[in-house]
Amino acid sequence: MTTTRLIAWLDERVPIGAVIETLRHKRVPQHRYSMWYYFGGITLFLFVVQVVTGGLLLLYYRPSAGEAYESVQFIMTRVQFGWLVRSIHAWSANLMVAAAFGHLFSVLFFHAYRRPREITWVSGVLLLLLVLAFGFTGYLLPWNELSLLATSVGTDMAATVPGIGHFIVRFMRGGNTVTGATLTRLFGVHVAILPALATALLALHLFLIQQHGMSVPPSIEEEGRRSERPVASVPFFPDFALHDLFAWTVALAVLAGLAAFYPWELGLKADPFAPAPAGIRPEWYFLWVFQTLKYAPSSVLGLNGELFVVGTLGIGVALLIVLPFLVPDRPRARRILSWLAGVALGYMVLLTALALRASGGRVS
């Protein structure tokens, strides 16, 4: 009796009954490609893991060139379970990038960006870019040998932009070269600015998904029309929510296994006056860009080689953001897009494989 009254009291002040009622009636399409629906949810789960572990790391981490490396070392050797928290943060970051890419390509191949989900797509691509920015800024924070030069190269690429390139580089580094000022700056971006932007965009993304529901791939829609049977569906709650929960449990198990059996290494402390070590490379999700830079000659079609690569990449990202507005809702256009997406995916996989294979020479 008291519970009922308590619920009634609460519902009068926090009216979430309507939300629960909506969720109860919400249905999710069920077909042979349904498993791809879980990638977005897994990405969200890993984001939450990042927020929690990131907050824990903040308690001991010190963002300065003199102390950053030592503080991470302290977390890993002295703080109880510190190694585990850092390892989970690093692994979860990588899995989140993988899940986000899986989500992007599944949305692309199943054409879920179509009307009325254009803004959902745009917010999703922006979120993916934020995830990559999280990865790039977070990579420098342990202040080790690899991260120093990777950040130097990554920021230097912007210098190829005509006119304002050098300003952008200075802006990102907080000075002319990668120093403690860069560390402090990227730390602030990593723990304050990016999380704020990501939370706002994520709220929009999730709201739109709730509004529009899951997209049904055109091929499944077509089959439904031909057989005159509507596409099967399951209730969001509890069926789909439980499936989601199961996917999260699997993600957590994979994460825990990786973090426990392959703890993330710290490497050597950054030394601004040490040569780049052989086999130096960025995080795996930037490897295809890295390998492209290796292959690009110093001049392409009269353009500076780096400018050519950076320019092509910039145009590619811009096209990706506005993609739903460029692809007409016709089967032929969709087929062409699927092929283009396949070629892009193939290129990324191939170049990543080549980069992993080649260490770029040996050290004496």
Binding site: M157, F171, R173, F273, A274, A276, S298, S299, E306, G361
Partner: protein, 154 residues
């Protein structure tokens, strides 16, 4: 906003309303600008003037064996000092002209190499293979009391 449609047309009200809206917009833009401008200026890192480095000590000549190299601090940037297989001393900026990694000497190739994107330079600092677009800046090397002194070319 609903009140705007209530105004009778031609009563003189819309004109005043447009003017006031315009004024309000201008004020809002002014407020936004006075908040954004300081933030944007704050984000630009201040210029810290640095004394231009003219020369640096690269350690004892006796500790640098033939066919080897050493990266030293030349002001805030790295420089590389090389003793060729023939025993000659050379020095260059160690900042790769491609994407600013720090280069190293490869005894097996007997020339300068950048590990980041596989760039190669010969012993005169010329870019001979890979993505680097320009040669490395060459410095002068002098021996003073057995110390290697690296200095900018006049």
């Amino acid at each position: 906003m609903a009140a705007a449609s209530d105004a009778a047309p031609g009563s003189g009200e819309p004109g005043r309303r447009t003017f006031l809206n315009w004024l309000l917009g201008l004020w809002a833009a002014g407020v936004a600008a006075s908040i954004l401008y300081p933030i944007l200026q704050y984000l630009v890192p201040p210029d810290i003037p640095e004394a231009a480095t003219q020369s640096a000590d690269a350690g004892k000549a006796s500790t640098l064996a033939p066919n080897s190299g050493r990266v030293i601090a030349f002001g805030s940037a790295p420089a590389i000092v090389i003793r060729t297989a023939a025993g000659e001393y050379r020095a260059f900026s160690a900042v790769c002209t491609h994407l600013s990694c720090t280069v190293q000497y490869r005894p097996d190739l007997q020339h300068i190499w950048c590990a980041c994107h596989n760039g190669h330079y010969d012993l005169n600092g010329r870019n001979i293979a890979g993505p680097p677009p320009r040669p490395l800046e060459q410095y002068d090397v002098n021996l003073r009391d057995g110390e290697i002194i690296v200095s900018k070319r006049a």
